[in-house]
Subunit: 246 residues, 8 copies
């Protein structure tokens, strides 16, 4: 909405006061009563609204998927269960589901650009990493997966260095002591998004230990998202990748 243009139309009598007043309040979201869907979001930010499936009442979830699929043509949902997938699929047949990342999506074909690298410390971190990787792919990035390169066996990581340094952004996913981000941060030139995972036991406190490690990293160029928040990391990696390729 261009305020100047609108005011001009008011001045020229092309627009009534009431209409102008309305437009100033009129925000582009659809109110489903229980939720306010923001279809124009992808216009504004280049990203559609993402559905956090976990805990959503069944009826709402299906309606949200149908509404977004119809209007935007594509939907990205995270933390979906198999049951939710089957329910949504009945209403939106083109929906696809990946049980590792728990992503439930409706996708349109697109050309992928740039490069994001997603690394994990161990194999148990892969579900979070896949949430990040598939998010970045959904939003149009090429993704290089480099898994199980934890720093306790530093040669595994170093042997993959060449693949990592090419990326516009590296997502470093690790639980336990969470040191992966720091070592990668010392190897690459571009930003590293560190994702602590809740993988670990004992005093890992469901990811708190890895979170503190990453926040306190002595390497430059590392910023951190919430524990297990693969989606958030994939989103930021996409933002950075877009800046790099535009």
């Amino acid at each position: 909405m261009d305020v100047r243009q609108m005011l001009k139309e008011v001045q020229e009598g092309k627009l009534s006061i009431e209409e102008a007043e309305g437009r100033l309040k009129d925000l582009p979201y659809e109110d489903l009563g229980y939720a306010k869907l923001d279809h124009h979001r992808s216009l504004r930010s280049g990203f559609g609204e993402t559905v956090f499936c976990q805990g959503k009442p069944d009826e709402y979830l299906v309606k949200i998927y149908r509404s977004l699929a119809e209007q935007d043509g594509r939907v990205l949902g995270t933390r979906a269960s198999w049951e939710q997938y089957e329910m949504v699929k009945a209403a939106v047949p083109q929906a696809v589901y990946d049980p590792i990342s728990r992503i439930l999506k409706v996708e349109i074909e697109q050309i992928k650009t740039g490069l994001v690298a997603v690394c994990t410390g161990g194999t148990a971190d892969i579900p979070v990493a896949e949430e990040a990787a598939q998010t970045a792919e959904f939003f149009g990035c090429n993704v290089e997966r480099i898994y199980d390169v934890g720093v306790a066996g530093i040669h595994r990581l170093l042997s993959q260095r060449e693949r990592i340094v090419k990326a516009n952004c590296v997502v470093a996913v690790a639980g336990m002591e969470g040191a992966l981000g720091t070592v990668i941060g010392g190897l690459v030139e571009n930003p590293v998004i560190a994702v602590p995972t809740s993988v670990g036991y004992g005093a890992s406190f469901h990811g708190l230990s890895a979170l503190l490690t990453m926040i306190n990293s002595c390497a430059n160029g590392i910023s951190v998202v919430n524990i297990d928040n693969g989606y958030g990391a994939g989103y930021i990696a996409t933002q950075i990748n877009r800046l790099a390729v535009r």
Copy 2:
């Protein structure tokens, strides 16, 4: 060091085994005994080594500044006191100091490119914000400062929206309840680096409250650095800005 080239020279007899063996171990840092300076860092990553001044013994600090100033021509130091400034200035006369950000630097003229925005919630967050802003400027970014726009008076922030959305990266600096990053994250398209500050009292626990707020942000596109770590945020903003303008 090009391994292929070096191996070729060994094959052709141009390089002795001993020399090759040495080179494979020879890493490009200068060992001052008490510290290992990495002059080639700026070649590798585009960023020179930064000096964390706080707590450095006087004698070491001066030597490090002299060595970096001579070899790299410029030095960025953070968390410097006025006393450290005077001591360094005696040895490196071109050093300049800003008591707000506590940055002590030797700079060379350069053309700035791109745009980074640095916002604060309150006036007490300005020292951390200046550390971020001056770091980004040192590394070649244009910086837009937008201070005292905390979300308790949301109109102050909204009136600055146009200045914020233009930036390739926004640094959001806030203490107390730390909600600035979330609101900015909902307004802009590009990445937001959130910096919790230790500003606050009572149950702010020296920045822990703001850190948790930012890590748990419900907005997309926000990643977080350590409490009061303006330098880290300025560094990442520079990385992102470089990708955007290259």
Copy 3:
């Protein structure tokens, strides 16, 4: 009990010493053995005793509902399960249950006065918000519900501003980073009761993050109740609303 009046009766011989002594100890509650019900509470404070259903042994729960329904005519219970509802309904047929708020109540018709607004950051916060809203309604307030207006999309909240400012008290319910209270606090003139919810994941620590955010709010006029304590917020909102309309 009027001490002066009682003493006068003793002086005048209308009341024996033993009776007077007894009255001084006699407090107006009914002792069921396992619990002490306070029927006169509504006389003293204008609020009947509320039943916290969760974890109450079945037999006790039914007895408590029956006793309160008979003597006070109405009962408010929170955190009730569907099973508890069915059990209570068998004994107290006029009991009604709302599975969203988990409120199980016996209500009498009444005229509602004043206005309380209840806002949520997201849709997942609605159960807690409904506990607050229905508590305020039970105690005689008009309630305006304004849901899913989280600060990551600040335009959604701002478009509802007019509805919010009219309330005598605003209840702000939010999980994750919990910034809703601060932004509302900056928009309204009347008190805001902030309710952190356990909605979130990763480092939200079951609502601790939102609690800290709200306690550290940089806005004026915000006070905080326990995590997920919708009932408590609805109660306080009622107290304030009553003062405003009396």
Copy 4:
């Protein structure tokens, strides 16, 4: 600013597009560069802007007091030191200072209305209580002070019950185990604002223990502000008192 009126003037040609556009952006605060003062705040909310003195640079502090004193005629500042008082007094002679509450203010005569009660558990909680009491008085409330009535000697509190129940709002200030709020909450009909203080030692963790006690109170009608935040409690008490007396 009345949007409807303004649009009408644009339509009627009484207002240029440029001016209208400007007004829509023009927010009523004064930008001192380092801080944005909100003189119109008292119009909007009935409360002037309050100055948090602690840590403010000297020069800024004096300018802020002078600006607010000139335009609003009165200023409330909290957490001021004696040195800040002397500095401000030189520029704003009518400023007065109370070393117990650390409030530094410029006041205008006014009639006080309603009643707020401020209670403390011990004598060490008095500075925080005075910050609350004097804030409420500055904003026009009558205040009843009831100090040193901690629950370890419950008779002290009960003997003051009559004074407490008359207030429209009770501020309960306590450190150590912080149980004062709960007992008062069970005695009164009106809202209780609980203020945990950092008074205590050992495992009181600078007020965290009292904060948790108050947040977990089993009494109804209690909401909590930040540790030592007497100002915040006084502010909310004023909001409630105003609703009660208007």
Copy 5:
């Protein structure tokens, strides 16, 4: 074992060196392999060994009960499930079980002496209180139960004051904000053992809030045991009661 007597026997040749050496090492416990039962404990301390049933493998549990029942004639077990009760009962028919306190015991008739009072804040604290009360009874104390006298309705507690002050030791059991101990501590002359319970929700953190409240109590004469540790409190109350009645 009397060292002096034993040495005398060695001197007199009544005891061989080997036997003496053995006795010095010989400690009066029975080694079941997986556990070392201390039958003589009741001789030494006046208390038999107590069985913490929760999590004990079935086979071990039955053997331990049988061994203690045979040798000591009585057994006290805590945190037992109904299943464990049935299993033990099959082997030790005189075992009795109370599902509220979860105590599974074999008792011998005895005369009870002295007086211990056990108070709770709410009805949900009763299981922990019963563990304390029945432990004290098992070890020979008279117990006065005073339940549901939480400080949010202080009159309920005060009306029971006379019953409480007579006890040699008061056990104060409370969850949520845990203030019961402090108020009782101010009413009685004898020691108060405070037991925080995990009753509560939100920021009660499974009893941590109540624990901190009690540890920070501003009343004299209060010491604290672990969260939900009714057994421990009953044990200490018995120790104190015994000193008082001996």
Copy 6:
């Protein structure tokens, strides 16, 4: 105050209604304005009011000591500084001070009875232990001091066993890992009051580690007071000792 007697006097006309009403409210404390001294406390509980000196304003402190010394003849104050001692001594010449325990007292001769043992893990715990020991002595107990018997050299503790087992109550004072209480608890028959101290470094977190150790003790008969709260432990030990010797 005997309620029955008073009511009788009212009935008989010996006491006016007004006087009776007054007495029912009249509680036996002296109101100094800033503090409410409870001179009759020693009548009720057998313990005079104790002064927590730390942080008390100078003028108040002197007045409190003078008032208590005059009316009760003796005063116990804790956490006093040398400066406070000199100030109080000028007004109350019979005051004596011990810089180790930081106890500042006015004592009257008395016969000591019973036995309390006070043990420490290391020499650094002695100040807290002396606060406990001198408190118990002030209130009339014989005290056996057994210092520097930490469990890392278990023979030191075992060699003192005979002295420890004789006490009616053992106070176990320890910092660092705080295991002293558990080992003593396994050696004695009577109650152990454990006092965690803030002695330690690194992850001792100012006594939190020792507090948790003691609260989680696997020995029976241990209850815990606040970190460094020697006074509290001495007080409880006195309560128990009195029960044992009465």
Copy 7:
């Protein structure tokens, strides 16, 4: 890989540049796609790769066991369930499982050397202790088991002293207050590895209390591994035992 030898072969033309380049990158692990197995690990460190079974997808687990069993002849897996055992056994028949320690292994006969002692505080700590003991045995140590010797009954521990002091390394496994390590540390000359367990309740916080106790131990010679990390302790004990017997 001997770099010198390889370079010599390049110089002599026996090795092509490409092959040499490859070897410098070629690290001796097998990439299964989802995991990188390090068969040569036992060559480098004397320990084969250990499988952390918990949470491994079924298909991966079986493949990993098969691959390691074929190439290394033996496999050590920890935290295995009975279901995992049955699945692995079907593919690798020589696999054996111990439900106490939850170790699932394929072993080859070997001579055991040296001595490691594994002690526990209680019987509930035995599963963790067995993980430690069987790990040490798997890697070739003799192990002395000394269970249920918690410090609350110090005579039980002291009677076992002779068995403990002979070990080259002592593993001390304890939950609750975790004091076992400190007492053992004071008894022996050789290193103690302390393992906190999650055994306990109330404020033991799933082993945090025991962890803090052990980290703060006032005894010398104690270092700590993660909560319940019996495997880690057994591994380190083996490293130390090997140094002692080589």
Copy 8:
């Protein structure tokens, strides 16, 4: 003390019962009243008693140094200040002091054996590392110092690998994110003792972050001591080194 021999002497009448009884209690430490010095400790464990200087009263400290220097010939003290050094030196002239490690010692010449490596992440960790290194040297180890090899520049660490792998034990000292231990653990065969340091800022929480990182390390062979506890690490490294070289 040989119990068998002693008993024999009693039997043979060479030793009186009283003497024997006495010996059984007689433990080989010297009681200075305020502290119990254990001169025979070095006989038992091979390590003399170490003095923790910080906070020791001046008079005691000098006496302890004198006593140990006279009887043992050598003394190791940690956390000493310059003032303590000067005071001790006056009484024990052979005492030497290192202001970096803050070690104050009296040493006798000895041959050093074996090898311990001490590594640090940064230069700020050197004081703690020196405490470890000098402790190990005092107790007879050769020490290799490898400083400033933090994992953010992994090439610095890898270039030192050969020096590290030779050691019988590696001490890894690091603050901030504390990842050094994990990477070293993956490089070496022998045990790694990790020492978290309080170096860091923001959310490092005085070393807690590094402590959690190290406790959660995904590498094998790492155990952890308290924050900044260089002495403890040096002690354990010595124990391990002695086992390796004996």
